[in-house]
Symmetry: C2
Subunit: 297 residues, 2 copies
Amino acid sequence: MTEPHAPLVPVLAVVGIGLIGGSFAAGLRRVGQVGTVLGVGRNPASLQRARELGLIDEVVTHEQAAARADVILLATPVGAMPGALKALAPVLRPGTLITDAGSTKVDVARLAQTLLGDKYLQFIPGHPIAGSEMTGPEAADPMLYHGRKVVLTPFEGTPGQDLHRLIRVWEACGGRVQLMDPAAHDRALASVSHVPHFLAAAYMAQVARSSDADARLNLAGTGFRDFTRIAAGSAEVWRDIFLSNREAVLHELDDFMSALQGLRATLEGDTDPAGLESQLEQAALARRFWGGRSGRT
Amino acid sequence: MTEPHAPLVPVLAVVGIGLIGGSFAAGLRRVGQVGTVLGVGRNPASLQRARELGLIDEVVTHEQAAARADVILLATPVGAMPGALKALAPVLRPGTLITDAGSTKVDVARLAQTLLGDKYLQFIPGHPIAGSEMTGPEAADPMLYHGRKVVLTPFEGTPGQDLHRLIRVWEACGGRVQLMDPAAHDRALASVSHVPHFLAAAYMAQVARSSDADARLNLAGTGFRDFTRIAAGSAEVWRDIFLSNREAVLHELDDFMSALQGLRATLEGDTDPAGLESQLEQAALARRFWGGRSGRT
């Protein structure tokens, strides 16, 4: 029987101690819901830094994490997950719950089924909708998930008590959990997260490649700053996201390009100022409505 | 002779008392460099609000402003400037300096030459690179121009003493003045200001029109928030900006669309993860470099 003050997660293992994994550990630590935090990773300097910052207590191997942890969070780019799952699978204890923080869910669910074999129901795919263009353990913030949506995409056979436990863990970090079908998650995220990043990156590269880039960037203001902020994110992370959600991203990109061509045609025609204003007004109203509803400006 | 403590602008007239005009008046007031502020505008409620907020001292007509002011700032959308210039022209005193805060400069320079006739050298086109998605006199902020670039595009014949006076006025508001050719200004702004707004608006409209818009917007996070913030701006203001800088905006849009097609092809090909990462990395480095140089993140 659990003692009254035992933490929700006696032993947590985090694979990939950067912004996402470090903030998860720090968030649980902040509310006293984690005992020991084990850190697993590829980069010794980063692990060392995470120890110095108090984000993790010990550096361990995948195998040690699989044998000791009650909950394992995979907070690596999606591209690094197959390696992690292969290493964890053979020694994974029954009762250990694995989850992840990857930005796509169909592919992660498939990976878990393929690589964990008959242990795949110990894996509950997840995606906290929070982040920053900052990376690394220094960027970890115990409040990162506070008030943020966290999507979980359980399998049909996921035991209810495991799901319930993971929900409590995320809620302890301040997250607001929402259950979704993995494909619906991926389509929605392609639209509101992956395409904006794709556009910001294409735009930033186009400006930077121009012959008078310096003169342009010298006049860039707050609008430019906000619009391009996401383009500063990790190229490795975003490469993995785009590739792993390729179909949905391409579909949304094409839909966006049609919309852009339409707005461009209205401007080029130059005979319909009211039509141009009306299209801009629809966008402005939609954005203000979202800002009001989400409590963000 | 001017008294030692006389303000730089004994009588200022601001045509259009919103965020831009109100902040200019408030900025000068803050450092004691303005005497009386006259307000001119189309919207009685807005003028009344500006008086209550202490942004202006009196509400006057264009004709009264032309007869009394030492400096006149046109802070209306570019589309409203012809009307303002026509009203000011017949009664404009010699020695009164007019400037504007419009986002395009070739067309404003042309308007001044056409509508002010032989008085056009009293007009020095200008563009403070500052703003916000907020509008109206309530949004006025005496620090809005602090540390911001202010572009002036004087005519060849602009008297040096007038230019010098206007530079001192903007510097009193905290602005950092830069002189430019109007066409070069318009090309640079098309790239770093107008195209981002166009893309954000087209994107926001595309998302809002989708059949599952609610589910999507429910998962939108901080990246979406930043990327779309400019889309909330005034549709009327941006319609005028796009139409008045139409050629440069279309040219930049086409250049962006080529870049986007290139990045999309790399993703669709799906055979070149390193190439995709390298393109994303170029964008990320360019954005981080700009952020570091501009002191903005």
